[in-house]
Symmetry: C2
Subunit: 697 residues, 2 copies
């Protein structure tokens, strides 16, 4: 494994801002605090006071002397030194109040008020002013339009919707939606997963996902980071930062936008379509960010990662006295784990105990049925199973009404030191309590359904892969700088595009531009048959459709015929003579300018099937390992593996090409789009047969 | 809508057995009852006694005078009239005891004991004897190897693992796994969904899924049927029965077997592969059975179906004061619902109330934000929204910590009469209680996550579609009987296969079998160019691979050349001369003998992509509407819709062909396999270009 040492030193080089004054303040002023129940000013003050915060709290409102038992102040100026101001007023006065805070040295602010950018230009103007004040004064600003935040470790809840919290723990959440953030809190509590910080990002007026991610990366009480994301313009920065964090702490994102109506489809003019979600998906994968599909899915993953920690391998031993849920879980594990058979020694230990009992099939998953109902027998079997050197981790299943093997799991965990994940078939109400907490404290996450057990296991497998991928990522190579200033048009023609690619060291098909019969005969001699003839024209968008391409020319006669017919129809255009390549797998490699991630690279199947599958993607520039990972995510994978008699694609060779494509820059100009369609791949031999480059302004 | 009246009369024509004595017994004997805690004989007696059952209970064990306060009997013979016997003994004595029960007229039995068929031939022999005794005496037998059953309405729990139950309700469960069945019970309880019956099917020694389904179909206290299924040989019967039940009661199945290791892939020798799960999936769809992917998914669907009931349309209005979870739910609804904009009248009513308040975007989903926090305003808005004639049903979202709009939902439901599904973002512990129960009683299911709200909504949409599909199914046409006795081989050659298909009225391509140059010239004259030449031989498995096919012959010279080369290599074989068909969409229609469902029909894409997509499937014979539904389930659908310039496939024409294929029978012989590969489809013009039929023994 090539470890990129850089990752192991620090999380981040760039320091955004010290957010301690925001999330761990020594004192808080609530500006616009109120005694009227249900008002924003009341809710925030009450939230802070009720949460058990031990720092200083200053209500600010000239109309009160005292609020909730605390002395009330006329203005922020009359208090003195304050770390954090919560500005719980309407948006029109919020700006002046924020300015006042800045003037007296308040270090951080929370602005819950909405009605800014999201309601139109007037609001956006106000929001710009707020950003300016905070930015110029170095204030850490949460909001606008935020539900607030929670620091569970110091018992501080600044939350529009204060509520029952999970216990103190090591999972922290960043949420772009208040409601979905609360949903995650609810399920963390229901699942007995402890929480450290909860951050409602709101309008991201100043601070955005990258800053919060950096803060949580450095936060010692956070070991696992979860996020609900609608979308951010700074997603690329978020991902790059995540790649540095992932080897230390897992990052799991539940990204909204599955349906076409919520997502959008960026279709380039050559038909290579990649949805916004596709770009996010590729970027997350490339940077080691795990993903989740629902609140419960996210919480099941966070639970395994926070409680069970890392796994050292993927040999899974499953043990139970109730087969059904165990098999149901195994059914979902797919390629994530292997279930090796127990060792002979393990079988012998089981048989010793079972002498005379009804015959049991001793295999993995191991179902000891009734023989596992008593604490003693369960312990005996589980110890032996956990000790089997063939297993890297265990998954166990029990059911309410029969033995809940709390003590047995604790002992097996202690004895073997292996990760154990457990499913107790029960309802959440039954299992809510101290026995589960004890197991969680010992590093054994408890699920109540087989399927969520599987999701938890899969998260551990995915995280192991993500860390490996990031550590093997290697360094990005420098830009490949090419010049295209001599090409006047913004859309380069096929030959010009290939010249650029050839200059960048890419394998373009051998070809000649010819403008006369003589030149063509010369090209025929140099290239040899079979040949392809194309009209070379910027004015023809779909050459094949109008008969401007003739493939598989195998003799001089046909070549001449084709020349004549081209010249008749397009007398003023040049002709491209190409060596014809037969067979191979058609692949499309593209570069497009994604509105969020900027330059991204896409990989798709070519030919007839091109429109049936979404391409996989990554953010440019890519390392070689990134490209391998993009290739591994291509659908359908079958196409790469010698489908229907084709030579299997050499993934390293394809990755080399992609890596170079991802690094190409045009001197003094931008690349809006590159479309290598197709690249014909035969094993490790690649030929770019057609290409198009579009420059940007 | 063509209503098939037959479905609306009765659920089932065939009567299996009266199961009332089993599930609603007036008296129960527990044979092998014991006072020893933890023993099977103790657990079952205790389960019955503790559950509050009001009928007579007779412990049977000569070693006791009394057990759990009940008089104990020496034998079943000493009791007299008994409806149900629970035989809680080891398997060796169970047979004699069952026989004793039969002799004294016991009507039903539960045998929890395992160790029969599942452990080998000796056990299987015992099991056959048990089946024989029960069958001959008309005893309703649950088990062997069952966890038991629950009749929640009479407070009877005969359950190895007695536990906390959901309230009395109308959902009934059939489970092939005890553990998964208990998992479903747990989640029904957690979700506040009432339960009627729970049946652990065990080894299905006598009674199987079809009998239990029929019982629940007729059971008045059951309105929705859920099942966890591993697999049953009688799945076809189950599906056929389900099709009769679905218009009256929804049936939802969670079928295990997603992964390749749990599933198996039935690959025919021509490469048409359909997994066992594929056959189940097709059969479920064809017969209107809904499916679920996990315990929580199943329970979320049962919840919507049992509590909200049927929907009359798919125009969905979404209403909330918290946008995030609402949009997250909407994001998952895909094609299941449309979200029309509220009417002008509705907008006006909203605006009237909002005068002077911050501007709110009035659209669907409707987020009234802070203006919906008070009971009065929430009620005002919700009433107006629910009254909008553009909405067939409503989905609403609230969050713990803010208004839980119980009374408002009740009023809106009462006022509008429309289905309402609600998500209250909270943990299950917070929401567990009487307020939720009140809403459930009023027909408003409450979910705690946005995603499960979406699953519930989707279930209602799926059920609406399933009922429509079943009611439009029409009648099956009679068999198409063809004769093939004159074909000696079990594998018919291409031409023989096509003769059968032509006899059945199917559009085979025009062709001639020729054995001499003269015959070929005659065929050339009759058919005209372009032509295809194939060596006609049973001995060549993959003709194309060995050069025994030549397509696109456009002149006499090439025809002769090809003839000569074929004759040189295969001198003794006949040659097939076919009219060549250019263009069109290649489709594969197949018939295979599925080990579970018998004759099934498959539909897949042909050509290069054939191995990339699993075919869709249905059980033979199919109605025309079944075939439309199989076509609608084909992946990828794009291929049918004019992909890349092809003429869109006429679904009716293809369905007609499939419907006939599904009805073909060979006189006095069986069809093991039919492979129409490809059928070339150009709009409504279809040609079977290649075909193969394999007869069975």
């Amino acid at each position: 494994m090539t470890v990129n040492e850089e990752y192991l030193k620090v999380y981040v080089e760039e320091e955004y801002m010290d957010l301690d004054s925001l999330f761990d303040p020594r004192s808080i002023a609530v500006i616009g605090a109120s005694g009227r129940q249900g008002s924003v000013g009341y809710i925030y003050l009450d939230s802070i006071v009720s949460s058990g915060y031990e720092g200083k709290v200053y209500p600010v409102n000239p109309r009160y002397d005292e609020l909730l038992g605390l002395q009330c102040y006329d203005s922020i100026e009359s208090i003195g030194n304050v770390d954090l101001a919560v500005i719980a007023t309407n948006k029109m006065v919020a700006i002046d109040l924020l300015e006042n805070c800045a003037n007296v040295g308040v270090k951080a602010a929370v602005i819950p008020t909405g009605g800014f950018e999201e309601v139109g230009e007037e609001g956006a103007e106000l929001e710009r002013k707020i950003r300016e004040i905070a930015s110029e004064n170095g204030m850490a600003l949460l909001g606008t339009n935020t539900l607030g935040f929670i620091n569970n470790h110091i018992g501080l809840q600044i939350n529009f919707n204060p509520r029952l919290l999970p216990s103190k723990g090591s999972v922290s959440i960043i949420s772009q939606s208040g409601g979905m953030g609360l949903s995650i809190i609810s399920k963390l509590r229901e699942e007995g997963v402890g929480m450290s910080k909860w951050i409602g990002v709101g309008n991201r007026t100043l601070l955005d996902f990258p800053e919060f991610l950096e803060y949580l990366a450095k936060d010692e009480s956070t070991t696992v980071i979860g996020a609900f994301m609608e979308g951010t313009e700074r997603a690329k920065q978020f991902c790059e930062l995540a790649a540095r964090i992932v080897p230390h702490k897992p990052v799991v994102v539940y990204k909204m936008g599955k349906s076409a109506s919520v997502d959008y489809l960026a279709v380039t003019h050559t038909g290579t379509g990649i949805g916004k979600t596709g770009a996010y998906k590729g970027a997350f994968r490339q940077h080691g960010v795990l993903t989740a599909d629902s609140t419960r899915d996210l919480v099941a993953k966070l639970k395994a990662l926070a409680i069970a920690g890392r796994i050292g391998g993927k040999q899974l031993g499953m043990f139970t006295y109730t087969a059904g849920p165990t098999i149901a879980a195994a059914d979902l594990l797919n390629d994530h784990f292997t279930l090796p058979q127990p060792s002979e020694e393990t079988i012998r230990i089981f048989e010793d105990f079972m002498k005379g009992a009804p015959p049991t099939i001793l295999k993995n998953p191991m179902d000891v049925d009734g023989q596992g109902y008593t604490p003693e027998s369960y312990q005996y079997f589980l110890n032996a199973y956990a000790a089997d050197p063939g297993f890297d981790l265990l998954a166990t299943v029990s059911t309410a009404g029969l033995l809940f093997p709390k003590d047995q799991l604790l002992e097996a965990k202690k004895g073997s030191g292996k990760p154990i994940l457990h499913c107790h078939v029960a309802d959440s109400i039954e299992i809510f309590g101290s026995e589960r907490d004890q197991l969680h404290e010992a590093g054994i996450p408890i699920y109540t359904t087989a399927e969520e057990l599987a999701v938890g296991l899969i998260a551990l497998s995915e995280y192991m892969d993500a860390v490996k991928r990031i550590l093997e990522r290697g360094n990005q190579q420098p830009q490949i700088m090419v010049s295209a200033s001599h090409f006047g048009d913004s859309i380069l023609d096929e030959h010009e595009s290939k010249m650029i690619l050839a200059e960048a060291g890419l394998p373009v098909v051998e070809e000649r531009v010819v403008s006369s019969r003589e030149e063509m005969v010369k090209a025929e001699e140099e290239l040899g048959f079979p040949l392809v003839l194309k009209v070379l024209s910027r004015r023809i968008a779909h050459k094949s459709d109008v008969g401007a391409v003739r493939t598989d020319i195998i003799d001089h006669e046909t070549l001449m015929e084709t020349w004549n017919s081209f010249k008749k129809k397009w007398p003023s255009e040049n002709v491209l003579v190409q060596r014809m390549i037969h067979g191979g797998v058609e692949i499309i490699v593209g570069r497009i300018l994604d509105p969020v991630f900027g330059d991204i690279i896409t990989l798709g199947v070519g030919g007839f099937m091109a429109d049936l599958f979404s391409p996989s993607a990554g953010v440019c520039p890519c390392t070689r390992q990134d490209c391998i990972s993009i290739i591994d995510a291509l659908e359908p994978q079958e196409i790469l593996n010698g489908y229907r008699g084709t030579t299997p694609v050499d993934r390293n060779a394809l990755a080399d090409l992609m890596e170079k494509v991802s690094r190409i820059h045009i001197k003094d100009e931008k690349i809006d789009e590159m479309d290598l369609n197709p690249v014909i791949v035969k094993g490790d031999s690649l030929s770019i047969v057609d290409a198009l480059i579009r420059k940007g302004e």
